[in-house]
Amino acid sequence: MILAFWTILKRDLTLAVRHRAELMNPVLFFVLVVVLFPLGVGAEASLLSKIAPGVIWIAALLSALLSLDRIFRSDMEDGSLEQMLISAQPMSLLILAKIIAHWLITGLPVVLVGPLLALFLGLSVDASGTLVISLLVGTPILSAIGAVGVALTVGLRRGGVILSLLILPLYVPVLIFASQAVDAAAAGLPAIAPIAMLCALLLLSLSLTPWAASSALKMSVS
């Protein structure tokens, strides 16, 4: 079972590395959206540092949404997904591996670039630190919830719009707690409560979404 987990994780990472252009896409999108904001709202330092947490988190959310489809789409198209469903391994475990692979490919670069962009927008060092923690805990939730959405829509030929409608409302709690945490840190207040809520959401989503996605996939392929 553990071997199956590692095998799928390694397989998805290998596939991502062999598609370098796709690998860069989400993080590039993330950077571009954040960089465009000062051009749009003006370079007033106090305003930028005030909206920075929200901007960075919304950009992270959108870049996750942009790359979600790949969790299952290509496997669906070439028949690999069928083989996983009828394999002698628990599907939810394979899905957990795919969620973690997706996070490593799209979420982790965002976590790494996030603090640089935060400083660029004039966020204080303290608040940037909290931002990194919120991204580190929050972005895996995006991959996990997204996996359920993709599993539900992967059987549809044009699932993109429905996917956004389905997933974005579920991302709202993550956005609220994460920006609350960074706002608190920026105001010099303790941010532990919203971060703890994010941790709870992370555990909840990692433990429940693989099962939900597995059931959804069974419906999607039939």
Binding site: T7, R11, L15, D78, Q83, M84, I86, A88, Q89, S222
Partner: protein, 222 residues
């Protein structure tokens, strides 16, 4: 290839009772019933669009039938999906092969998914199988660079990797040359002699001598 392998230990009968599947408000087929026992082949026939692939997918548990059930050893496959999947090899319409993985990487993933009786690190067995399917010296070639026929052979290799007693093959001979066809016919014959079962659809005549072969024509069942 095929050192004299022992008989399957878990070979059981596969039966279908009153299976009906509806697609887009019309019955694809209705009340299909049959039973095949170890050492038997069921050859599904029928025109394009008569529901052969759908029936095979229902046998695998990938498509939920609207009425009726599939039984393995007299027990519904929904109630023993793990044990059933352990006994099942399915070669679908799509090959289930990742184009951006090498031949060997594809085989290894399949081995882990199917809980192969062979070790992933067992080079001799892998070389043996690759030689059998005519892909020797191609271990490190990306599946993308293989021809359609070679990919089909690689997909078929899944059936040889684990000790599954039930083979469900959807058009196994498409895109294959005469050598490939005779290899697959030979493999099916060996499989049946070891006490296995096979359900096959094929528009090409399947030349397996001395094998009890039942025919079921889906077009005639309407």
């Amino acid at each position: 290839m095929f050192p004299s392998l022992p008989e399957y230990t878990n070979s059981q009968s596969l039966s279908v009772k009153n299976l009906s599947i509806e697609k887009q408000d019309r019955w694809l087929f209705q009340n299909i019933s049959f039973e095949i026992k170890p050492k038997e082949v069921l050859h599904l026939e029928g025109e394009n669009g008569s529901g052969k692939t759908t029936l095979l997918r229902a046998l695998c548990g990938l498509t939920m039938p609207d009425e009726g059930e599939v039984f393995w050893n007299g027990i519904s496959i929904d109630k023993q999906s793990y044990d059933y999947h352990l006994q099942l090899s399915y070669l679908g319409h799509s090959d289930g092969i990742k184009q951006d993985l090498t031949v060997l990487e594809n085989l290894r993933v399949s081995m882990v998914l199917s809980r192969s009786i062979y070790k992933v690190s067992d080079k001799a067995i892998l070389e043996d199988i690759l030689k059998g399917i005519g892909l020797e010296n191609k271990e490190d070639t990306l599946a993308f660079h293989l021809s359609a026929g070679q990919r089909r052979r690689l997909a078929f290799a899944r059936c040889l990797l684990n000790d599954s007693s039930l083979w469900i093959l959807d058009e196994p001979l498409t895109a294959l040359d005469t050598k490939g066809i005779s290899f697959i016919e030979y493999a099916i014959k060996m499989h049946i002699e070891r006490g296995g079962l096979a359900v096959i659809t094929s528009h090409q005549p399947l030349n397996v001598k001395n094998v009890p072969c039942t025919r079921l024509n889906l077009s005639a069942e309407k």
